[in-house]
Symmetry: D2
Subunit: 415 residues, 4 copies
């Protein structure tokens, strides 16, 4: 169940719908039909599939059920573009998504148009509260896939020996070292989770009490400069720093730097959406796994934040930082003093992804949205340079397996 | 780091040492040299290896470091019988433990005698506090392996088409249905974790505050009767009940009942240490994974307890139940009213295994004891029919991956 | 080493070059950019890769070495489109061919044009004998890839639940049962292998003597009607009919019919390049592995031909049958009496693919063409409906692993 | 079908039976119960299983069918100790043979005694021709397993970091370089295969004609001295020497020397049944795969013999060489001049293992003996230091996959 807490005027929903849909299309625009076809690993999906699946979401949960006279674009798509909803029947096995070459990209664009026309007609009519709530969910769902479009295609392009560029490189950023500081917070019984109005996903609720001891958080994420020290100090070769599963992964995968770092002629280079570059020393390190984040924290004599700590700290500051809207799909150094909690990179916490007390997913297919993934994953917080600004908030819980590295994932220290 | 909180008199340590060592030997006694050689799966180990490794623990952490003039039994054993201590150097890869046929069992018995003689001489001399603390750790460590000897060999024997019996069957137990009840607890800020005197493992500390909402726990674990209903109601075929990873496992492993259940001539039979039997309807279900436990709770409209809830409830009752000391290595029905929290089966909680606030493993090899496994595992509580009674307490945290089924693991409902 | 035995006039080479290149382009024409991007299994390659690799062959072995002033189209292509020539350095790992989305299809067409222009200029100049020989090799090489383009894309399309059509279905063929007969041949010392003028691959030489006992061959390949009997008689469930490796494969892969057969509503349907159809009872069975062919022969109380037998028989008849040139990419029933050895389906022999006596691959990269694959593969003979007619001859040796099924492979009985 | 061509007097069969059975027991005698329990890789089996399976063979094919009043030792053994006879029903999956700890070794010895008593009674009675033929087959079958007992346990022991010794080392052999020579043979139509009286396996028949060109064979196998040169010349790092599958295996398995060679302190040492040793330069190289043998021959500018060539050469000399009967289970240098074809090491040929013309396995379970393995294997000839002398002959065809290295397999050059 996804809970849309607030209520918005219908025209606003139509505008939100149009804006989100246009953004998705724009993100795919620099990519060829071939780029959009390929699935480069099990957990990733083709761009074309993302374009279709987000559309399928509106068709399935709104148009098929609630739009009188809606003509389904193609009945096969129900099977082709279901992601994981068991309640909705069989679907293309996840590893095979990249093998479905037809419908082609042009056809998927027609599918998007078909659904957009129907959605806009529906919204123009003055949609019911339930429909408006579903639209809002669908838009947030599509924003999640916007980020995945970028992280998934980055992985595809990174495997190409030509190191292709997703988009022209923005002009270089001047190096401005932001010294780290520590922000202190007082423990006690706090409330976390989403409670008030405004949209949130079901896994952010209910608001509930937790006990937290006094804690301190670093004012900024760990930087590439910090990470180079960790590497230089043998961090990737010191088993005592690592969780047991992490160490096994380091050895099996031969990790010796973040994903996308390569040593060329003795220098570290980082594959980015904008080309190969030297890692900027003051930018947040990204594309590290939870295992690496945890090992780094051990090495630094600190620890990762718990998600309650992170949320308590984050709600004390504005949702301000580098987001997808800024157009540079790589974390930049960030000047200025004070606690910065949002944007740039997702931050691994030390909290496994579990249900909040009295969380229960609702009945129906939408109940499969979040709850069933509460196993073997870790919570990340804060959003990244690939996250739409309007998508993030202090209570937002992202989650990935502890070995995942292809998201824009970094870390912040706590103590 | 393993913390031995209390202090005991030296003679008592000698007696404890002797008792634990004798119990281990006695548990292996019904097994042939061949039985004790084999490793039937990655996570299990041969009995012979357990016999040697527990001995290696005393040799490595006490005799080599603290017993003047101690002659190492065989320098190769340092490599052969190290389990996972990276700080102590290379070791036999875990999957290969069952391939080391030499030293043979007789030699391992000589190794045990050699170490026992040295240990007893050391303890007779009036050992230092540090040594006494290490002995206590070594004894608790060996008790953990006593349970593993039983669960690992059960897996070996279960693969044999002859369904061999570990020990003669105790006389059958009369069926006495114990109706389930619910025990209520009041929420608020509670303290959990080990704080006072007495031995505990490092992962049980420090005692710390947590917030807990009001909750209720079932007074007894889920029974085979309950489980047969779950099966009959299609529990193993209903994806909406399962965590996503759980459902994948059900399908990949073709689970349709607890491990060791087989359908013979249309009837369920359970492979036990005492022979094939019909599952007793009033006995706790066992050999279920966390995934199955969670799905059952979903099906029942309840949930699994959090570990804090379990501990709060458990310290209100005595450590009383069916343990290894009772000599029947299979959970029995348990009569009587009231809340029963210990023995019979380990109980899966809904809590991932994570460090308590300000937990830090100590420096040195013993620091690898618990902390490095705090990833991808779930906490179990309460001890089982294969756990020595003196090994368990309300704060005790056991942990296994959510897919593990070969321990005597069951569940209790909460709401 | 590939031996071009004969000599042809230069204009003829230019014409041959143009014809072969145009055919390749035409075969890919019905496919979208997405279709041409995907690699659906390890042994297959994307269409786009085939288009580029065949071009790379001319660029690498002719233009770079022998065309003065030739400007390499893109130096990266040397790495990107090398198939398996170790002597030419590193290349994209075979399983990753489908992940290289750039260069895109348009760019590859420009590559083909660039190379074609250079080649035509070279040939117009009156090319040397060596160049003419290399052109001939390159053309035959490209013809091999023409067949692979079809078999590889058929596999891709077959995985699509929409069962897409490669090309419109030709009009149905009337059922005309051709009764099988037996052609007898007299044993003794025969010569096989390529000896005279005309192009041949290195693995067809040298012509050499073999002893052959008297033998008989069926006059036509085994048909779908025959195969349906084999299925109905439990052929896929009778281990005694199968080679041990074959039986393991049947069980592991759950084979119960040829590749591309599916049971829909109780009827067998065959996925073809022209749509889903009932298998025509009089058409040769195709898409069977060597294991299946051998099991069928066992079941029929016969055996597969040896390659020497096949060749002796084949040179007694004309190279006449259904080929790529006929435009129907699926084997058709073939009327008429008498021995028919060519076209329709490749025929598995019982001969492992081994070197002929005194075969030695030549020095240099072209020496890697055939010899290094002489291990764990079986010889097929005769060409198929996807083979260009000008590509085949009685001495031609095709080879695939005994488990391969995605070629148009069938069988003929011998005794 | 196994064909026992000749006829022998009954008492002789009883003596043969007794001698073979005693040899098997003697070969296992140096091994502990633990040694005999373990299966170290898929293709190997535990010693205990070999002891039982060879006994099962006599029980199944002779006693159960032809000994009136025979009491089956344990009906479960029919399932437990069937190797691969599909016609005889289900069996323990091959990878699980090492997990069956019960029956234990003592029980298997009782099983052997039970069957031996019944067999000897049967033979004392004056057995029928059919029984005598089956006894002969059973004895040859058991001799095959004698060699496997040694090669399989060698693999087990080699994995033990203690490098255990199977039997005390025989006294060292003086180095006596035997220079290689070349023996020439005239081509033409030859007959090969078993034709006359005397025992042979079905795969050696029928005797049949083949064409062979003139050829020359080296008079002795390739030695360790030769192999060290191959290593020193970069043989394991030169892809052009290797079959494609071979090169893949070299890279995947990181081969850089024969199996059981290890570099200790910069020197090659070879794990043998008699301890770790420097490879004797004049001894035949052994534990090389077909891939390595073929690459060596390429490197040497020669080739491997075809099996027909080998057989033609071998029948010109006596069956004389180093066999199991000599008691040293490692190939020794062999002095003297002239063509030596037998013993020491099995010799890889370039011939895939295929049926001789008109070979057909007989009906019934014994028909599964050889024919069904005629796929993906290569023929070896000549017997090794682990082969009983009475087991070998010029027509004998051994076979293993081209990647197998754990047999005593070497090579001889041809040209």
């Amino acid at each position: 169940m996804i809970h849309a807490g607030g209520s918005t005027e219908a025209p606003q929903h139509a505008a939100q719908y149009r804006a989100v849909r246009d953004t998705t299309t724009a993100l795919a625009a620099p990519l060829s039909a071939e780029d959009q076809q390929v699935q480069s690993m099990l957990l990733a999906s083709p761009t074309k599939w993302h374009l279709a699946h987000t559309t399928w979401f509106f068709e399935t949960f709104i148009l098929r059920e609630r739009a009188a006279g809606y003509r389904v674009f193609d009945p096969h798509y129900h099977y082709l573009f279901n992601s994981y909803y068991e309640a909705l029947g069989e679907r293309v096995p996840r590893p095979d998504r990249g093998l479905i070459t037809r419908p082609g990209l042009d056809e998927i664009h027609r599918y998007r148009e078909h659904v957009d026309n129907a959605m806009e007609a529906l919204l123009a009519d003055g949609a019911s509260d339930r429909i408006q709530a579903l639209v809002e969910i669908g838009c947030h769902h599509e924003q999640q896939h916007q980020e995945l479009i970028l992280t998934d295609i980055k992985h595809v392009l990174s495997l190409n020996p030509l190191a292709p560029v997703y988009a022209p490189a923005p002009s270089p950023v001047a190096a401005t070292a932001t010294p780290n500081g520590w922000a202190s917070f007082t423990g006690g019984v706090h409330e976390i989770g989403h409670g008030g109005p405004g949209f949130h996903f079901d896994n952010e609720a209910p608001r509930h009490r937790v006990w937290v001891d006094d804690f301190r958080l670093a004012t900024r994420p760990v930087t590439n400069r910090d990470w180079l020290e960790f590497i230089a100090d043998g961090g990737y070769a010191t088993p005592s720093l690592w969780l047991s599963d992490g160490w096994q992964t380091v050895q099996a995968e031969k990790w010796e730097a973040p994903l996308y770092w390569r040593r060329l002629d003795g220098e570290w280079r980082e594959f980015t959406m904008h080309g190969l570059r030297a890692p900027h020393p003051d930018a947040p390190v990204c594309h590290v796994s939870h295992y690496e984040a945890d090992a780094f924290a051990q090495w630094a004599g600190k620890r990762l934040p718990r998600e309650a700590e992170w949320e308590i700290a984050a709600r004390s500051v504005a949702v301000d930082g580098q987001f997808l809207d800024d157009g540079i799909i790589h974390p930049l150094p960030r000047g200025g003093e004070g606690l910065r909690m949002f944007g740039g990179v997702w931050e691994w916490t030390q909290s496994p992804y579990t249900p909040y007390p009295s969380f229960r997913p609702a009945a129906g297919a939408l109940g499969e949205y979040n709850g069933k993934f509460m196993s073997n994953q870790m919570v990340l917080r804060g959003g990244s340079c690939a996250t739409p600004r309007s998508h993030i908030r202090a209570t937002y819980r992202n989650f990935f397996p502890p070995s995942a590295r292809w998201q824009f994932s970094g870390l912040r220290l706590a103590e």
